[in-house]
Amino acid sequence: MGIKQAFSLALKSLMTSKMRSFLTMLGIIIGVAAVIILVSLVNGFKSDMLTTFEDMGLNLINVNIFARGSNRQVDVEDMYEFAEENSDYIEYISPTVTVQAAPKFGTDTAESTSITGVNEDYVYIQNYELTSGRFLQYMDVQTRQKSCVIGSYLAEEYFDGNPVGQSFKINGSQFDVVGVLEEQADSTEGSADDCIYIPYTLARTLSRMGTVSSYIVYARDKELVDPTITLIKNYLYGIFSSDSAYRVMALAQIVDTVNELMGTLTVILVGIAGISLLVGGIGIMNIMLVSVTERTREIGIRKSIGAKRSAIMSQFVVEAATTSAIGGIIGIVLGIVASIVVCRLMGIGVSISVLSIIVAFGVSAGIGIMFGYFPASKASKLNPIEALRHD
């Protein structure tokens, strides 16, 4: 008996009891749909997260220099020179100097504001936009101009949204506002909008730190982040002869960690959905066993007119495989539709994994064969005389 005949026979027998066939398939349908939905959700979530990180800048590399107990030092000029020499890799570099101080706006003191000293390239590194005024410029930094750029929260809170040209005090020194950054977060106290950027040359004095100990580096390309890190590490090792004197970290490494985490999550979720597939398979086996009993007489007739074991076997295995494969197809359609709907509702990007569809279909057909095997083998071993006597 050809596979085509076995298949059409299987379809015929499925069509004779549609309700039962559907219920039998339900386990597989749910299992397959669950696999596809979960994989899509995790994928969508992951790519959303990656996009967020990418907005933050996958090209960014943080460099921290501790240099405790070492009499060797790296100053800003050394780093600039290094960046200049490796301009194939490094597009921008800026010192970042954190100032522990509370700015005073007239009589008000802002306690939660972060003050950071940077250079003129920082605006490109962070890809900041300004709503008014300008960012710090080369001359501001070189001539230690007491100018600054502030976040949108401060602009709204203390200057009624129009701070350019006005001034406030940090540690008693008067700073002129030259620009306002576009809103980054939600313009609340302590958020990314509650910030002040001043020339690092001034910040160094304000923080009373002789040297600059941290930098932010912007690689020319995402792909260049790793070699750039190696370059920086080699350079710093060459100076300090110790790899505990500095730390070089890329945001991309955090992304790797996230990816890894998501991978684990996918495995766990798909595992859970896989259990549903397994239960579906057992359902198929159960109904196939019932079917074998119901069709004992038919099996007897077929055997008496010359059907070999393999012919009976393939008939039932194909029927089980067809049941679960059809269930699989319905599950795939359902899974795709549900993925789109759920992803839209949750506001994450729809990304349906083709691999998950192929695997889900393969597994569901495989489950049919696996769980159809036992009932089919039972049917093929029936004694034709007894089977014919069966009502």
Binding site: M1, K12, R302, S304, I305, G306, A307, K308, I385, L388
Partner: protein, 226 residues
């Protein structure tokens, strides 16, 4: 063509052993029309199962067309049944969800015959029983007599050396039963070898040779109608 020699079929063992066939020897040649007659429990069904290669004897040899089938395995027996034996059952035993034509094609499918030839042979067989115009009907839409004729067509389609009829008229009214019987006679006249199992003496009389079985033994072997 059929050579049964010292056939024993024993169920159970020790005290509870049942000798369904107790040393049966029987030869049937090609072209014969033999009725095997016996009451229920006489061993005639066991005899039919062995002749029909549905079962193997506990001991003894059975040669069908010269081949010893008494020690064959399941699948080998299936192949023998498929090629050499056409079954006609009391309950017709058609598969209800297949059409008349598909039912007749079934033994040919298991023989691995190509679809075209299969369809041709099935239609020829249906024509012989006069039901070619019903080939697309489901068995349940036909009368009992017609269903039995379909099952005869199925038996004939494989062009077997032996037609084995188990109470072929048992489920039919006497008029239809007679028609079926006449048809079997006609097939015999055309050269088919027929072995018919029955408990009914009246029906057995229609065969050319009557073999009576009682308690697993052949008690008489006589000529029937001329």
């Amino acid at each position: 063509m059929i050579e049964l020699k010292d056939i024993y079929k024993i169920y159970g063992d020790g005290e509870g052993e049942i000798r369904a066939l107790d040393g049966v020897s029987l030869n049937i040649s090609g072209g014969e029309f033999v009725a095997i007659v016996g009451q229920s429990g006489s061993g005639k069904s066991t005899c039919m199962n062995i002749i029909g290669c549905l079962d193997v004897p506990t001991s003894g040899t059975y040669r069908l067309n010269g081949t010893d089938v008494s020690t064959m395995k399941d699948d080998e027996l299936a192949a023998v049944r498929n090629k050499m034996i056409g079954f006609i059952f009391q309950q017709y035993n058609l598969i209800p969800k297949l059409t008349v034509k598909e039912n007749v094609e079934l033994p040919l499918i298991y023989r691995g015959m190509p679809a075209k030839e299969r369809a041709k042979r099935a239609m020829e067989a249906l024509e012989m029983v006069g039901l070619a115009d019903r080939c697309t009907k489901m068995p349940s839409m036909l009368s009992g007599g017609q269903q039995q004729r379909v099952s005869i067509a199925r038996a004939l389609a494989g062009n077997p050396s032996l037609l084995l009829a188990d109470e072929p008229t048992g489920a039919l009214d006497s008029k239809t039963g007679r028609e079926v019987l006449e048809f079997l006679k006609k097939l015999n006249e055309q050269g088919n070898t027929i072995v018919m199992i029955t408990h009914d003496n009246e029906i057995a009389k229609e065969a050319k040779r009557i073999v009576r079985i009682q308690d697993g033994k052949i008690i008489s072997d006589e000529k029937g109608r001329e």
